[in-house]
């Protein structure tokens, strides 16, 4: 039986103007803020006393980490909403953010490893943050593998939503257990309980970099959402609508 393409139904639309606009804006904002941030990182920020120039990786490593957590938070929200509402768009959001999140987490690990090599002389250290990030990486790689190995797309969406919820809620517990387990990493300078211990110039560059990384995440997410929405639209067009 030949497949005929039919008109798209309301729930499966090609990426509309809204998404394209969002992606363009995020990309533009990302370009601007990234330029500013890079200027800040390499020119404005003062050189740190003990670690020297290498310490500047901090301004990339830490914002990437925060953005990765943002990505997985979005996965959590998308997963929760998918299970509650069963609308495809939430699954699209969750899986897109998961993929971008894995990329970001990989960058966190790589930048952390480079930093560690420069400062401590080894390519890998089992300090708290790096270890937690590695576990996080495994959880969301498992998310992607789960989607790959489950045949039926509805089932894949459901199962990965379950994992998306469980994984995210596990994050604070993983953190706590890893921090208790190991204390090799220099105290997280910004996240100390007494308040940020960074001098203001460093803090500003860090925040700038954070904005830039968030824009990077949003533009990547926008691109990925566009691709996945097209995929859903194609799938909807392939099957004739019910009832007629």
């Amino acid at each position: 039986m030949a497949q005929t393409l039919s008109r798209p139904t309301a729930s499966a639309r090609a990426p509309g103007g809204g998404l394209a606009l969002f992606t363009t804006l995020a990309g533009a904002a990302g370009a601007v803020t990234m330029t500013l941030a890079l200027y800040g990182i390499f020119v404005l920020a003062p050189t740190e006393r003990t670690q020297g120039v290498v310490q500047r990786v901090f301004y990339i490593h830490v914002p990437l980490a925060w953005t990765a957590y943002l990505a997985f938070g979005v996965v959590f929200v998308g997963s929760l909403l998918y299970l509650l509402r069963r609308r495809r768009r939430w699954d699209v959001l969750a899986r897109s953010s998961a993929e971008v999140g894995v990329v970001l987490t990989t960058l966190v690990i790589v930048s952390g490893s480079l930093w560690g090599k420069a400062v401590w002389g080894t390519w890998w250290t089992w300090d708290a943050r790096l270890t937690s990030t590695l576990v996080l990486w495994f959880i969301y790689v498992a998310y992607l593998m789960l989607r790959a190995y489950v045949g039926d797309p509805d089932r894949a969406a459901r199962y990965s939503a379950v994992l998306g919820i469980v994984g995210f809620l596990d994050i604070p517990i993983i953190h706590m257990s890893v921090i208790w387990w190991r204390t090799l990493h220099p105290e997280p300078v910004v996240l100390r309980s007494e308040g940020p211990a960074l001098p203001p110039e460093m803090l500003w560059v860090l925040l700038m970099s954070l904005v830039a990384m968030t824009c990077l995440y949003l533009s990547l997410l926008g691109l990925k959402l566009g691709i996945e929405t097209l995929r859903e639209d194609l799938r909807a067009r392939r099957s004739p609508p019910a009832g007629q």
Binding site: D152, P153, D154, R235, S239, A242, G243
Partner: protein, 227 residues
């Protein structure tokens, strides 16, 4: 007035493939309906939708006026299901399988009921034997007993005649004649028309015929199925 089943525009998709489309069906209490059709027509899918194993992708589906999937847990208390596979626990005995079913359904006077039904399906002598040792036909009879055990208002039977010998088929006919509401599927055309008072023919996920069993000509049904 309450009906056993009301389906309006019901559809079910698996990914891109619609196994059922635009199904309209009303079954009143006390009716015996046979679902007929070739392989892949959607008979099992429809049964599984009614048994709350699947959610409908489209349309409105109600059992005893309870909407699915919203009131699925209440619907489960009203149905007796027999699937493609008997779905018995192989390492429990015949008695234990029925006992479990009764406990899950909250059946009163369970011990008596189990005895009654084991006798009815001719498995009383084998009640203490593990189901693993049963033949396909015996398992089918036990699974039938299990479906009827809780005295459900609606019975959903997927190929209840599978694996049954002549005696088993007589038993099936006997069981179905009790006045309960039954929706069954079968590959055996003539048998389906004989067991039921009404027949619904599905082809490629859609209803092509819905008439009293006596009014349907087997040759015509065959032609529809082959088309």
């Amino acid at each position: 007035m309450s009906v056993a089943i009301r389906a309006r525009g019901v559809g079910r998709a698996f990914g891109a493939i619609w196994a059922l489309r635009g199904v309209d069906l009303t079954v009143a209490w006390g009716e015996r309906v046979a679902l007929l059709g070739p392989n892949g027509a959607g008979k099992t899918t429809l049964l599984r939708l009614l048994a709350t194993l699947l959610r409908p992708t489209a349309g409105d589906l109600r059992v005893a006026d309870l909407p699915l999937p919203g009131a699925a847990d209440r619907v489960r208390g009203l149905i007796g299901y027999l699937g493609h596979q008997p779905g018995l626990l192989p390492d429990l005995t015949a008695w234990e399988n029925l006992w479990l079913a009764g406990q899950l359904a909250g059946v009163p006077d369970l011990a008596d009921r189990c005895a009654v039904w084991l006798a009815r399906v001719g498995l009383w002598e084998r009640r203490a034997d593990r189901v693993r040792t049963f033949s396909r036909g015996m398992q089918q009879r036990l699974a039938l007993a299990r479906a009827f055990l809780a005295d459900p208002p609606l019975l959903l039977l997927d190929e209840p005649d599978a694996g049954l010998d002549a005696q088993g088929l007589d038993l099936l006919e006997d069981l179905l004649a009790g006045g309960r509401t039954v929706l069954l599927t079968t590959h055996h055309l003539e048998r389906g028309l004989a067991l039921a008072s009404r027949a619904v023919v599905l082809v490629r996920g859609q209803v092509v015929a819905d008439a009293p069993a006596a009014a349907l000509d087997p040759a015509a049904v065959r032609a529809w199925c082959a088309a």
